[in-house]
């Protein structure tokens, strides 16, 4: 797969290219099946999971409905503990805040822990342009950075790479034997990244949750690199989407039960860092300065309708990716967006230009597997349909896509027939006749030929159920 984002407008072409890559498909198959299986195992051990989902969603819905209140409360409490709170309307604003912070301290090297939010705003590139080197320290994320790619999966960024491919990448970076085992490759990364940690004065992270009543934020991880990023450098800055807010510390429990089980099938990830303000002066452990950048970048617009607001309840577990029959086949890069899979197909068009991401809401079979596994019960199919309608009909602030004449005609005719029982009977009778005599031909001509390329159009029954029912009754 190519380095930078593939064009989002060409989902179909990207998907076809991905389908031809057998190595990638094999890796994707094992990963999605394994994570789905682990999730099922974890759920089997967790009595009350369904209740947790409902409770977590209720907390998210409430927080989002009063988000202005909770953001102000967070700011007040974080500031009282010595955290510096910044507000960023856009990704560029957030990057500028981080760059100014680095410049103020004369810092030109930063270490980063995995954060989808910083991927979303392209922070690494912005820092690079400003002469600040930022090294990703999550192993998968580092591999991706060294390869010049974007994450393939929001939880396991490099699942599409084979050990041999990773070996070649790490060989160039650390000098390790390219044929080394996964354990030895990992050990070489540990060594190389320890040097980065020692040299960096700025730690950059995201956050999984922010707590309004205490001004805290929480980071979950397995490797320990987020702990290193938030402990060793003099300055720590966390980029936090405004939707990460939770009212109270106690609310974390239910989310800590849901997120790891849904994401990796763990009962709990190895580390949680609940960070609140700056350290006490007597302590050498921890940074001198802590900054939080509250990022909007299109999120506030998603609050205006309940249907779109639910997208902000997402806790980025990745379960919908693993469950999605489309993602399972084409993988993360085909979407051409930072957030792939079902959740990416609904949040990318809302965060970015809908026109540019107009293909993504259609990159789904609407089977609902994503909704079934979502730990906060986001109705992704409902959102996909909502966005499809916006693509076709436009939105107060976003123009509709160019109309497709034929499509309009077909759907108008469909609606005309469906509005009246007699028209419906007549239309289906005609369709049956057409199918009987010209069926094979029709399937070879456009527009049906295109539809039939990957599918078989079943023949219409010779006698409709309507007629059979008369006899059966």
């Amino acid at each position: 797969m190519s380095g930078d984002h593939l064009p989002m407008e060409q989902f179909e072409r990207n998907a076809n290219a991905a389908l031809a890559d057998q190595t990638q498909r094999a890796a994707l198959h094992s990963a999605t099946q394994l994570f789905s299986q682990r999730r099922r195992n974890a759920l089997a051990r967790a009595e009350g999971f369904e209740d947790w989902r409902n409770q977590a969603r209720a907390i998210k819905d409430h927080t989002l409905l009063y988000l202005d209140h909770y953001l102000a409360e967070f700011e007040r409490n974080a500031t009282a503990r010595g955290t510096v709170v910044h507000w960023a309307e856009s990704g560029e604003d957030a990057a500028r805040i981080v760059i100014e912070l680095a410049n103020k301290h004369g810092i030109d090297r930063a270490v980063k822990s995995k954060s989808m939010t910083t991927e979303e705003i392209g922070l690494n590139k912005a820092l690079e342009r400003a002469g600040i080197g930022a090294v990703e320290t999550d192993l998968g994320e580092w591999i991706i950075q060294l390869a010049g790619e974007v994450p393939f999966h929001i939880v396991v960024p490099a699942i599409h790479k084979t050990r041999a491919q990773v070996g070649a990448i790490l060989h160039d970076a650390t000098g390790v034997d390219a044929n080394a085992s996964a354990a030895d490759l990992t050990a070489s990364a540990r060594m190389a990244l320890r040097a980065e940690f020692a040299a960096a004065n700025l730690g950059i992270s995201g956050a999984n949750f922010a707590i309004a009543e205490t001004g805290s934020f929480l980071i979950l991880e397995n490797e320990g690199n987020a702990r290193l990023c938030t402990t060793l450098p003099r300055v720590h800055v966390a980029i936090v989407g405004i939707e990460k807010m939770l009212p109270a510390v106690a609310d974390l429990a239910v989310f800590l039960r849901l997120l790891p089980r849904s994401g990796t099938g763990q009962d709990l990830t190895t580390y949680q860092s609940l960070l609140t303000g700056t350290k006490s002066s007597a302590n050498r452990d921890g940074p001198d300065e802590v900054h939080v950048v509250l990022l909007d970048n299109g999120r506030s617009h998603m609050l205006d309708q309940a249907v779109t607001r639910q997208s902000l309840a997402c806790i980025r577990c990745g379960a919908c990716l693993n469950a999605c029959p489309v993602y399972q086949q084409v993988g993360g890069h085909a979407y051409g967006s930072v957030y792939p899979g079902p959740i990416g197909a609904v949040i990318t068009p809302q965060l970015q230009d809908l026109a540019k991401a107009s293909k993504l809401p259609f990159a789904s079979t609407l089977c609902g597997a994503c909704r079934d596994v979502c730990p906060v019960k986001i109705d992704i199919p409902e959102l996909l349909l909502h966005l499809r309608a916006e693509v076709k009909q436009g939105h107060p602030t976003r123009p509709a896509a160019a109309p497709n004449r034929l499509e309009r005609m077909v759907f108008s005719a469909f609606a005309f027939c469906m509005r009246d029982a007699r028209r419906y009977v007549l239309a289906t009778r005609l369709a049956r006749l057409a199918d009987r005599y010209f069926g094979a031909l029709l399937r070879r001509l456009p527009p049906l030929s295109r539809w039939c390329r990957g599918r078989t159009a079943p023949r219409l029954a010779r006698r409709p159920f309507r007629d059979l029912w008369q006899e059966l009754r």
């Binding site: 394994l34 020692a198 490797e223 320990g224 702990r227 429990a253 709990l268 860092s273």
Partner: protein, 209 residues
């Protein structure tokens, strides 16, 4: 108008008129496990953590010294806190070279092992919890390849709820860092193969004393 005001304005405009803010919903607390210690040990074992159980309030020095020798550890980074000071003296007398909690990061990074106390344990998940204020062990528990943590059995809590309910307005202030640790550091980023000890400790021993 600054960015803060503009973001808050946009949020308010999008949300429009709302009913007066109701009491916030909260999740039910999880049923505690029947017996805390067996549950803790089982959960810890499931994530490749080691454990050793001593009679309550007994001195963990012997078992820690033995484990350090097994790991061939000579240089030990210590966490902070009063009980830790006593334990540190004991380790010093047994010939281990010690790195105090306020040493430089470079020094802590050279340690063969870190020895710290934990403030709490959580039976539900097999987790030990380090409070920055009393433990000062963010680095000693993270940088060395072996982490030995002493958990007084009286500090074992049933669930995550029991831990978190202690903090917030009307309760205790949160420390600048509350660290939850469940097993050794791990990754599966290369072909989904589990590798322990990627950035943090490869081995974790919880001494229940």
């Amino acid at each position: 108008m600054n960015a803060r005001a503009r973001i808050l304005r946009r949020v308010q405009t999008a949300l429009g008129d709302r009913p007066l803010r109701p009491q916030r919903p909260s999740a039910a607390r999880r049923e505690p496990p029947a017996e805390l210690l067996p549950e803790f040990v089982e959960r810890l074992h499931a994530v490749q953590g080691e454990w050793a159980r001593l009679p309550p309030d007994s001195d963990p020095l012997d078992i820690i010294a033995t484990r350090l020798k097994v790991a061939n550890a000579k240089c030990v980074a210590l966490g902070g806190g009063l009980p830790m000071q006593r334990l540190g003296r004991g380790l010093g007398l047994r010939g281990f070279s010690l790195i105090p909690p306020d040493a430089s990061t470079d020094e802590v990074a050279t340690a063969d092992a870190g020895v710290t106390f934990a403030q709490w344990g959580i039976a539900e998940t097999g987790t030990v919890v380090l409070d920055e204020r009393s433990m000062r062990a963010r680095r000693a528990s993270l940088l060395p390849p072996l982490h030995i943590v002493v958990l007084p059995q009286s500090c074992l809590l049933a669930t995550l709820d029991d831990l978190l309910a202690q903090f917030g307005p009307g309760h205790a202030d949160l420390p600048s860092a509350l660290t939850l640790i469940t097993g050794p550091s791990r990754t599966a980023d290369i072909e989904l193969q589990l590798v322990v000890g990627v950035h943090g400790p490869r081995e974790l021993l919880v001494v229940l004393a």
